[in-house]
Assembly symmetry: C2
Homo-oligomer: 382 residues x 2
């Protein structure tokens, strides 16, 4: 053994873990179904165990179902939603590619930053945060920029706005570009029809509409996107997220690539199973019904909502902070006194709105009632 003596200065003496029980009504993570937690708690097997490979196949099928796609390359990447976002950019962008990003919120900006890092010639169209792009605006931008990729955020988590996608895929085919879409806050909670809409690359997360803990994130590429990948002149500038390597692990070859986060895949499989058991259409309808109940309840408190009704997400609602109210202080009291988490605004909307999520398991009338009761007490008491 070594003769160097051990430095114990960072050796904390800790008690076993105890965490507070929160009702998570922010932009995610949201609370998870107890059956999902129980599945996650199953002792791990190896990442090449036949039983695990069979589970990966189940995840692939059920992800196709919730996304409404037949894309062969439909997998979960071993990281949170941002990793899956980066996977779409890293695999599709080659240096010099024109990438046109629709920016009407924080996650549009993130796509711009990421695409730039992979050498894209990034162009943007912008809207005030909380608004959406019309088909005509997208067509004009495609004519102007002639991009290789158009990137849009279906569900802008920072604003609560839903970008309609009907017709956009046809436009992209007309202009010979790929359509890349952020569905982080829509998958499982908002109607999505990837194939009908002609989406070529999409990513999501596990901890929102699917009601699973974060850490394993859905990714899908259409045949057109796979062709662009196969025709690359340069290696993908990201080893961990290289789909040409990942597809050999998820596909028939079963070539080792990296050790998957086994237990999170257990959880994801179980969360997807529960969505299928409920039925996707019922799951979407539940999110819609509960969010409408939330909107009415918030308006009955005299609060106003940031996004025009037609384009509001069923999963995430932005509420304007009333004049004279300290938004941060109120969130802190909600957390400390009621164990309820809601989110604050980001970027343009910092200090302007709160963000309230009703996602997955948390999309229930009971969640709304608890929150509204607490908000009433805190706002009346101000």
């Amino acid at each position: 053994m070594q003769t160097i003596s051990i430095n114990n200065s960072q050796k904390l003496q800790l008690q076993p873990l105890e965490m507070p029980q929160r009702l998570l009504l922010g932009p995610g993570p949201s609370n998870t179904h107890t059956e999902v937690l129980q599945a996650m708690n199953t002792p791990p097997v190896g990442h090449l165990d036949p039983a695990f490979l069979a589970l990966m196949d189940e995840i692939q099928s059920l992800l196709r179902y919730v996304w409404q796609t037949e894309n062969s390359l439909t997998i979960a990447v071993s990281g949170t939603g941002t990793a899956a976002m980066e996977a779409t950019i890293a695999n599709s962008v080659e240096p010099g590619d024109v990438v046109l990003v629709g920016v009407a919120g924080y996650f549009g900006d993130r796509l711009v930053d990421m695409a730039g890092r992979y050498g894209a010639d990034v162009r943007t169209i912008t809207k005030p945060w909380g608004q959406i792009f019309t088909l005509q605006e997208l067509q004009t931008a495609l004519e102007t920029h002639r991009p290789a990729i158009l990137a849009l955020v279906h569900a802008e988590t920072s604003t609560g706005a839903r970008q309609p996608l009907e017709g956009v895929g046809d436009l992209c085919r007309e202009f010979g570009c790929l359509l890349l879409v952020d569905t982080v806050t829509s998958l499982g909670g908002v109607p999505i029809f990837l194939d009908q809409w002609g989406v070529d690359l999409a990513y999501s997360c596990s901890q929102k509409g699917l009601g699973c803990p974060p850490g394993a994130s859905p990714l899908t590429l259409s045949q057109r996107a796979m062709e662009k990948l196969q025709q690359r002149r340069t290696k993908v500038k990201n080893w961990y997220l290289d789909v040409s390597l990942l597809s050999k692990y998820w596909g028939k070859e079963r070539v080792y690539h990296h050790t998957a986060p086994i237990n999170l895949y257990y959880a994801l499989r179980e969360a997807l199973r529960l969505v299928a058991e409920e039925g996707l259409e019922n799951c979407w309808q539940r999110h819609q019904n509960n969010v409408e109940y939330l909107w009415e309840s918030l308006e009955s408190l005299g609060l106003s909502l940031h996004v025009e009704r037609e384009f509001r997400l069923p999963t995430l609602t932005t509420v304007r902070i009333p004049e004279g109210v300290d938004g941060k202080a109120l969130s802190r009291r909600l957390l400390n006194e009621y164990n309820i988490e809601i989110g604050g605004g980001l970027g343009e909307l910092a200090g302007i709105v709160w963000r309230i999520g009703l996602m997955g398991y948390n999309s229930r009338q009971e969640s709304v009632d608890k929150l509204v009761e607490a908000l009433r007490a805190l706002l009346v008491g101000k």
Copy 2:
């Protein structure tokens, strides 16, 4: 709601998750302590919850302890070990940097591939798989290549060899380069003294010596490595793993970067707490004692070990497959008939060795006894 009808072709009707119970004696993941699984099962809180931020601080301290470093930037990245490996490369390499990699196994090759993707001018020194580099060989290579970074694998998971690191940091300072070290299969199980050895960048995983499920992976950068990062002329070509952004989430600013895999951080905190409770020196000694018992037991079966005794890892042992034995078939029988997983060889050692891990919770005499009993039955029965 949409009028498009739902495609149910991928909607599987599944039963709740049931997985086999395996004794994981491959190259990882290994089995986890029940207290770690229990902690992971705690319902998640938000990634900006004060209770979670406090837990992140605990993880940072305890990672410094197990790595024996005072590096301020010591965190867990939100992916498996390969993501942490990529984080060291992505943050330290700028296009054109000479990166010298010591390749004596699969993970040396992976470093070469990764560094190339980030624009490095990659040079290599090589040894047959299972051997190590002497200080003299490293000095000669540094003189020849004058790299910006020397990358070595402390514990080569594909061969079971331990690369001695005493004196290497001094050499790197003499030649003005950073020392980057893979400690994936050593952290928690093999004596490591990062600061004493002058290591500048290191990465590891959670599912080996720490006995935690995979998915949250240790990363540390010395002050010298942080200075190189701060002096970059270009943005880090990886958004998810950009330490200049990650450090604002893990540091005092607490700026949102991505949603952490909350429950895996619970598990990692608990696994680290258990190592501290046992005491790092006791943990290392336990790994050493149990692996020596394994070596004797294997040799008593007439098996021979691939690596010279002095450089064998206490965490992972490579055993030569005896002539006339179908290595893959035996592994399959071990898994199917005894629920024991061991690993096969990679690359140069494919078909030549089995890989047997005794890591974290699984480094126990009982694991050895179960494996040796099964091996005896299968080898005598051949």
